[in-house]
């Protein structure tokens, strides 16, 4: 447990870095607020409305595909570690698993989900 406690401690100490930086910058940095300065940077043009509008669906598509592959790679970790122990059984098991995944992969490829146009 102490091994993980050390990492938690590291995360806490690392969290102090931004806090220290904010505090120091708060006292050191100059402050000349100005309504024009607080507007968004859009190459000098007055920004019309919000930036958080609809964006292209392909970003969601990438996110969903990533989720599938990431979960898959998490499943591959125990297989990889215990590969020698599982022997032939493990190879067949992971073969079926990978086959199903690759089937889906080529399906989305053929569907054109991997094209970025």
């Amino acid at each position: 447990m102490r091994a993980y406690a050390a990492i938690l401690l590291l995360a806490l100490v690392a969290a102090c870095i931004p806090v220290a930086v904010w505090t120091l910058a708060y006292f050191v940095a100059p402050k000349f607020p100005n309504p024009t300065k607080a507007t968004n940077y859009e190459c000098g043009i007055t920004s019309p409305g919000e930036a958080r509008e609809k964006f292209h669906v392909r970003y969601y598509l990438i996110a969903v595909m990533f989720l599938v592959f990431d979960v898959e790679s998490v499943f591959l970790f125990p297989f990889a570690v215990q590969f020698k122990e599982l022997a032939l059984f493990g190879i067949i098991e992971i073969g079926i698993f990978l086959f199903l995944l690759l089937f889906g992969y080529f399906y989305i490829w053929k569907k054109g989900a991997l094209n970025w146009e």
Partner: protein, 393 residues
Amino acid sequence: MTAMTLTQSFVTALLQIVVLALFVFVAVPVIVFAERKVIGYVQLRLGYTRIAGGLHGVTGGLNRLMWWMGKLPFFSILRGFPSFIADGIKLFTKEDIVPEKADWWVFHFAPAISVVAAFTVLGIVSFSPAPLWTWPAAVPIVGGLPFAGVISDVNVGLLMLVGVASVGVYGIVLGGWASNSKYPLLGGLRSAAQIVSYEVPLTFSLLVPVVLSGTLNFTQMSQYLSGAPIQTSAGPAQMPALAILPLFIGFFIYLTCGFAETNRVPFDLPEAETELVAGFHTEYTGMKFGLFYLAEYANMIIVAAVAAAFFLGGHHFLPFGLQRFIPPSVPVVGGASFGWFLLWMALILFSYLWVRATLPRYRYDQLMHVGWKWLIPLSLANLCLAALVRYFA
């Protein structure tokens, strides 16, 4: 070694963390300096040798210092290095502007997430197999205890590393979203899509040494790559000669994905300045921008460290198991040490700069094409090759 008390292990860990943070804060200016110098020399320029500000004030002092460095035989090549002091002062003394439309809390916390994720990952990296030094007995609490080269050498090191490192993408995407401005939002989205796309082949290529050795631990992996037999929870393992093939392919896939993960050239699309100004950190000023910058360089250090530990020599002189041809009795090159690890890391970091000086940027559709249609099948095939080598060897 006798068991440590709770106070002792707490103080030991705290000291290690402080040293690690100092290491990063020293390494980042060195990498920034090396970056500008190496690219300068590649393009037949001198790189920077002075800073703006003439001979007055702090910048003047630094300029005078650099002028004197130019006069000295060895230091002349390091001319320009002291300007990191000026960089630091400038980052701190710039006005901290938060755009009116921005989400105040998220805007502030986004760079913090990136920094915390990057530093936390560094705690798992094993820099040295042996303790770096032993505290003298005179030191209170930790006197006589070793100072290990790793904060926490956990068994599931690689899994934890992949998990924690991917938290860093939140910093980028939240930074882009919180700015509520069009360029940062687009930059953040692009960056997130790029990072998640390349994370898949990155993980697959990292699984190659795991399949071969059956361990996720940094120290054991380094031992395995030196050709020595190791004892893992999944039984004994020793590197077969054929393992060099999947490791070699995996190393190049890993390095490519590592470049994309850290948003570096040739995959620095989120910062494609002709299209997106400065990408997700367009609206960031002062030290909040500095935190993103720090996180990016810390991530480069992580990529280099993982490449060193899982593909190259790790703590040894020769990579890919070639170390077995050098008997351990040979001084310096025969043993495992912190120095070799630093050398391998430096080589990977140099390759970052080399690539940046050489290659142009990819187009975004090319980036996605390479990631999804080439690297994923290639890394999977390579993983199968590694599995075959492990099964039959």
